[in-house]
Assembly symmetry: C2
Homo-oligomer: 458 residues x 2
């Protein structure tokens, strides 16, 4: 009857859980901008203190970037390692937020109450579902349900530069029976989902240099090359008319979806039109002949995430700029090789350079796609536990996002990873007005209680 | 002997002329940015006061934008109207300036002394060559050499929105025997040049709208259209592989250069390689088969002056942006129709819009090219006077920039315009570290003294 008691405690303590999450959300832990380094450290400190309150042995570990938070507690059962990240995305464009991104608050919406603020869903809210599950267990039973390790990083939103060195150095310490990650979503609001496929990510920041200074387009327009002209051509040609990516060798290692998986996905209650309509769209823009779920989960992409050059202020300036820049990323699937994608993209760009242009190519991370081995017994245990909490049974799905650590757990630590998260498609992660459903937070905590309970008995 | 006395006075008073110009350059009269409106007004006031000191009847006239400065003085001779503009270009990127743009100073360079600062060449320094010539005349002879009208505007660098309404309303008052403008350059450092062809300018600011908010490229990358992808494709396709512009009907009204003009241009001491090398380039990027002078003076162009969209800050953000924007301009020649160019560009963009994208198209000015009638007697008089001052004889040339007012003088006021300026190719107008050669300023003043003297006798 211990499970019911813990679940009741979750319900009774939920107001306090919300208050704790709001506390964490107030910390402006934007990892990609060096100006926020101190706030990242403050978020790590907050977590160290909170985990210690629950009884974990906890440490903040320095890295070359933002610190790691490590915690251990409990004994017996299935030894789980829980990973999350305490850093968040930048908040621009700030003027599109209805309330300040780091002044989180509860709001009523037509779909129920939500917690609004940067990081509420990605990943502070999700991370705290697990922490609160542990807290409830400790409060009711006096101990954690089984041996639990905690591993939080603060660089997930900026390419995790310190992660692989750290995991390599501490591989033994990170070993467990299975890794758990709460940084994914639910395929639809009532269907708990375990992600078994993750896309990889290759990012590059590129700058094309033309004339040695900004020029007057009247004095020089014509004979002087405009780097924006070269950049737009090179980026436009990344896609063909069918929505495919044109880089040489890009589709090497991109598998066709096995028939049984395709059928399972078709059976999901996923509404393509609704998914697109929620963001103001109606026509899938990816590869022609692929379903939306395929386009997100099992097909690779190329996207320009940012572009800039010349005069971008008020009014008009007839400048012919010296430089033009872009941030470009590729989502990878199957066994696509990140290094080969980098090389192919750089070669693509260089093939567009006229004599008077040079290219600066700066790599921003390179991670392969991950494919989970769902024959590990923890998967079915978790799927069943999730079905006990939610209206629908748990399902295995893909995820278009990139969570490179799942691959690192396989490659560096040698353990499988279960990605179980409670985010919704309309959470606006990485966008203004990010939110996390209060229902996701509540049932997310309860879900972990059930999963930990089930895993503690094996 | 009055001419020699006036020229001597110019030489003897030159230190004071420099001090006056530095005063004017300290006023931050950036017209395109509303934040500088008061400084634009201050520059107008400064000129009103200065012209009054010389004996002009002077007024500051309000417009819907920045004010006009009008002055009249003198009697007899050829009635000239001198036009200039007291506004300047924005100064970004500020970090590329060696000294603050509005703290002008004299500097020694390998090519002689220069006045460094925003507006030193375009157009405050050039404008003051004429004012100082008038001042010298008045100081030596007690009066201006002939009837002179002054007409300064403060919106030239931001599309002159108030100019046509003002000129239309005051056409009678603006009438003179000939208009003079000092806002152009010399084809090479010792060859005074009268511009007889000016390119027109069409500018547009465009925004492509896709999803209704910024999206996560993992969650939506694939099925969601990226407006940057659409924008880069539409802008890349503005040019063909031969450097030509692809807009439908773009070359309607673009004349072939008459053989005699082509031969005259070939006779100029213009070094293509040096012209390009000064800005770090080596290969002409315009239409293949055209000389650099043709590409600048007599061929139309399309340029992206600015582009922006998505995340452009430090680090990386895997955003799929809701919008992408650009500022695009076209330089026109011959009888190309600005309205048709706008329409063709907008149609070009719309032809690239997928179902889920919309276009905001905002016009920023539209002016035709100008072609002067050099059989007006003032042209040969001025060309001879210029040859008296400089090492080489004066020449008739083209200009790649756009000075729409020359066309307005023809169309609205019904008078011809002589464009005589002393800027050098390396003045970096519209760029960081703008300068004006002290020699240009000095011999420019002396040139106007000679021209006014010659015109006063006809």
């Amino acid at each position: 009857m211990s499970l019911d008691a813990v679940l009741s405690h979750v319900d009774n303590d939920f107001e306090n859980a919300i208050a704790r999450l709001l506390d964490l959300l107030r910390i402006e832990s934007i990892s990609t901008d060096p100006a926020y380094a101190q706030q990242c450290d403050a978020a790590a400190e907050w977590l160290v203190d909170d985990l210690q309150d629950i009884g974990f042995n906890t440490e903040k570990r320095p890295t070359a970037g933002h610190p790691m938070v490590m915690g251990t507690g409990g004994t017996g059962g299935t030894h789980v390692l829980f990973y999350g990240h305490y850093d968040v995305q930048p908040v621009d464009p700030l003027d599109l937020w209805d309330n300040p991104p780091f002044e989180p608050r509860l709001e009523e919406t037509e779909n129920g109450p939500v917690i609004r603020g940067r990081g509420s869903s990605d990943d502070k809210g999700q991370l705290m579902t697990f922490v609160e599950a542990c807290r409830a267990y400790k409060a009711v039973t006096g101990s954690l349900p089984s041996k639990i390790s905690i591993f939080f990083e603060g660089e997930e939103e900026s390419g995790s530069p310190s992660l692989v060195p750290y995991m390599t150095e501490h591989a033994e310490e990170l070993r467990a029976d299975v890794a758990l990650i709460c940084d994914t979503g639910m395929v639809e609001p009532n269907t708990p989902s375990i992600v078994t496929m993750l896309r990889g990510l290759v990012g590059a920041e590129i700058t094309l240099n033309g004339p040695n200074k900004d020029l007057h387009s009247g004095m020089y327009g014509g004979p002087s090359i405009n780097p924006i002209r070269v950049l737009t051509r090179a980026l436009a040609d990344l896609h063909n008319d069918q929505g495919g990516v044109t880089l040489e060798g890009f589709y090497e290692g991109v598998p066709e979806l096995p028939e049984q998986v395709a059928q399972q996905w078709q059976g999901l209650d996923f509404d393509e039109a609704k998914f697109l309509a929620e963001v103001g769209l109606s026509v899938p823009a990816g590869e022609q002949g692929r379903s939306v779920l395929e386009q997100i989960w099992s097909r690779p992409t190329a996207e320009v995430n940012g572009i800039w050059g010349g005069y971008t202020g008020e009014g008009f300036k007839t400048v012919l700029p010296a430089q033009a820049s872009a941030k470009v990323s590729f989502r990878l699937v199957g066994t696509q090789d990140p290094d080969k994608i980098h090389a192919a993209f750089e070669a693509h760009l260089r093939s567009y350079l006229p004599a008077d242009c040079t290219l600066d190519y700066h790599r921003h991370g390179a991670s392969s796609a991950s494919n989970m081995k769902i024959d590990h017994p923890a998967f079915e245990i978790a799927r069943t536990a999730l079905g006990d909490e939610w209206d629908n049974a748990g399902v295995y799905v893909g995820c278009g996002g990139s969570i490179p650590i799942a691959g690192h757990f396989q490659d560096i630590v040698g353990i499988e990873t279960m990605l179980i998260g409670f985010a919704q498609d309309d959470d606006s992660i990485h966008s203004p007005n990010e939110k996390y459903d209060l229902r996701s937070f509540h049932k997310g905590i309860r879900s972990w209680v059930r999963i930990l309970d089930a895993l503690s008995k094996t």
